[in-house]
Symmetry: C2
Subunit: 364 residues, 2 copies
């Protein structure tokens, strides 16, 4: 049997340098744990635009479709700000999500104990926090038609369409309920059913799936604005949150920031099972391309490394090795090793991106 | 000349009891400061539905159109959760906003010094915080057509439309720039121009208005997800934030919660000038109807009272009296007077809704 295949799309900004550390770790697994991967690399985002005039070529798209898992670094940067909407770096990422049909975006918001004081929130509010936001990723206002800017009389008008079908809601709801069963068995669904009919349908379908298939899981509903409030007030009240593409974008970013561990947080985007039983999958850090520090060896590779840990767990059914890798990260942090972004106001001496990667390998 | 007219719509839940304290304060102004108002009262939300089967009658709508300012308490409650979308309490409020064309919703996120420890954020992150979120209130996905739930084949599909015209964006941008000039001269505009064309147009129009009319104001742009993060990380970086209806809903609620002063925060919703030069205007607290404590005399009336202070400032051009009222509130807090929601974990003896109103009048 051949090795499972990984497609690495390092992308822009700090993407390549944090991905470099992941490659070292993949190498370690092949050598030391007999867990070898066939790794290919390709371009996405601004890097692909620079080379090919498009943020994702058809050839790369096809390689992604055929890979057992895709690892992505980050896309975007000020250099591309003035590009036309259709070729912006982000379109490459959105095309991957859409064409691979990665409908379930898992975003853990977790507070690493060694970093709890790093949050803008009080220690007691975030210490030990471990929630999972499940964001619908292939529909909603990101993809709905009609969309665009056109003229009406003398005026420009900008339009996007929020659109959800019953089955789109049902499948992401199921993935949230499944996850909850393996965690603390609680799901909170967020929408604006008080002002949007798409939210009314969302609430109905989540409720129906719950009653028919997951009555054992505790389900609650919250308006998304109240949800944003409650995340800021007392995030530990949540276990799994399920929400749509746009609300998920804002709420998961806010939650990530609240943990104080933004440079640490991974994500998994999962689709339907392929012929080999593995889900279509893309793994990426929650943080962006951080153009201001790119190329300086300062970036924190942990979010990208933990994204690979999620790949071990969700694509390669190897929860044990995922946990081993996560524990190695925690050990390195407990030992006081810090990249520049993890230094508090007290300062200290930062280690480089590569040193952090090496330290994690040593801890493995 | 006749007195200016106020229409009071107390609404549901704690609405009537907090509004009661505002009425006392209006009475005080008439008696002691020679600032008399002609006050009318009417129903909105669930209260209107119970009486008339609609959350806002045409007659009430007309009274609101003719009032110099409308004061609203709160709408909604679990009793109305199962009502059809078209007669939900919220529709009454949305109809007022839309038909009065109240396009500029001013939501101060302010941290009262006496309450800084009450925030889930660290004191240094919120102490002294004073930002203003300007939310577009009459357009976007709240009102765009087509909308609704329909069948496609065997499936239900929920649709809403995000739609912004150039002039809708321009007028709310102007109101944000005007406010900034009277504050710290900085505006940050938030959208998702990286994924939504309506956001691309938003950014373009804000930039154009800035260049043509307000080049003296400092303008920056942020994606709304990054904006949510930055609000949680270091809110003091902002002065005025301008954003659309839906993003404004989430971001202003999160910001309000972060201040620790949620029960304290007022809002103003302003439209175009009427024949008498006053803007169409509706004032309401940011908090909701809090059905769990309604009718118990526990609610904090300060947000509603400060909404009346905003009315003095924005509708009646009486910034001096507005400041006097705001200072009275601060004094009462500094004296240690607390409604139940303002007691920290250390406890203490709460005063009632009415006692808080009386204390503020005494401080006036
Ligand atoms: C880069 C951008 C297109 C993306 C999004 O809006 O989904 C990002 O913010 C994210 O959350 O992954
Ligand atoms: C009550 C509801 C319709 C309203 C909104 O969504 O605008 C509320 O959340 C607000 O922010 O004023």
């Amino acid at each position: 049997m051949s090795n499972p295949s990984l497609l690495i799309l390092a992308g822009d900004g700090i993407g390549p340098e944090v991905m470099n550390e992941v490659k070292k770790i993949i190498g370690w697994y092949g050598e030391k744990r007999d867990l070898a991967f066939d790794v290919e690399e390709d371009l996405v985002g601004g890097a692909a635009y620079d080379a090919h005039g498009t943020p994702l070529t058809d050839a790369t798209m096809e390689r992604a479709q055929n890979a057992d898992a895709v690892l992505l670094g980050a896309v975007g940067g000020p250099k591309y700000d003035t590009l036309d909407f259709s070729v912006k770096p982000e379109r490459g990422l959105l095309r991957l999500r859409k064409e691979m049909d990665l409908f379930s975006n898992l975003r853990p918001a977790q507070c690493f104990d060694a970093l709890a004081d790093f949050s803008s929130l009080k220690r007691e509010v975030v210490a030990g926090l471990d929630i999972m936001i499940v964001r619908e990723l292939t529909s909603g206002v990101y993809f709905g038609e009609p969309r665009g800017i056109h003229k009406e009389g003398n005026e420009r008008v900008g339009i996007n369409t929020q659109r959800y079908t019953e089955s789109e809601i049902a499948r992401v709801a199921r993935s949230a309920f499944e996850l909850a069963r393996r965690r603390n068995n609680k799901v909170c669904s967020m929408e604006k059913a008080n002002v949007m009919e798409s939210g009314v349908l969302w609430r109905q379908v989540v409720t129906e799936i719950h009653e028919a298939e997951y009555p054992d899981v505790e389900l609650s509903h919250m308006y998304a604005d109240a949800g944003a409030m409650q995340l800021c007030r007392w995030p530990k009240q949540f276990d799994v949150i399920v929400t749509d593409n746009l609300f998920g974008d804002l709420l998961s970013d806010a939650a990530a920031m609240l943990t104080g561990s933004l440079g640490m947080l991974p994500s998994a985007s999962l689709g339907a099972p392929m012929a080999n039983g593995r889900p279509k999958a893309l793994y990426e850090p929650v943080h962006g391309s951080a153009p201001d520090i790119a190329g300086q060896g300062k970036a924190n590779p942990i979010a990208c490394i933990l994204s690979f840990a999620m790949a071990l767990r969700y694509s390669f059914d190897n929860g044990d090795e995922a946990t081993r890798l996560e524990q190695a990260v925690e050990k390195v942090l407990a030992d006081g090793k810090r990249t520049a972004d993890l230094l508090g106001p007290e300062g200290g001496t930062p280690i480089s991106t590569a040193e952090m990667g090496d330290a994690i390998i040593a801890a493995l």
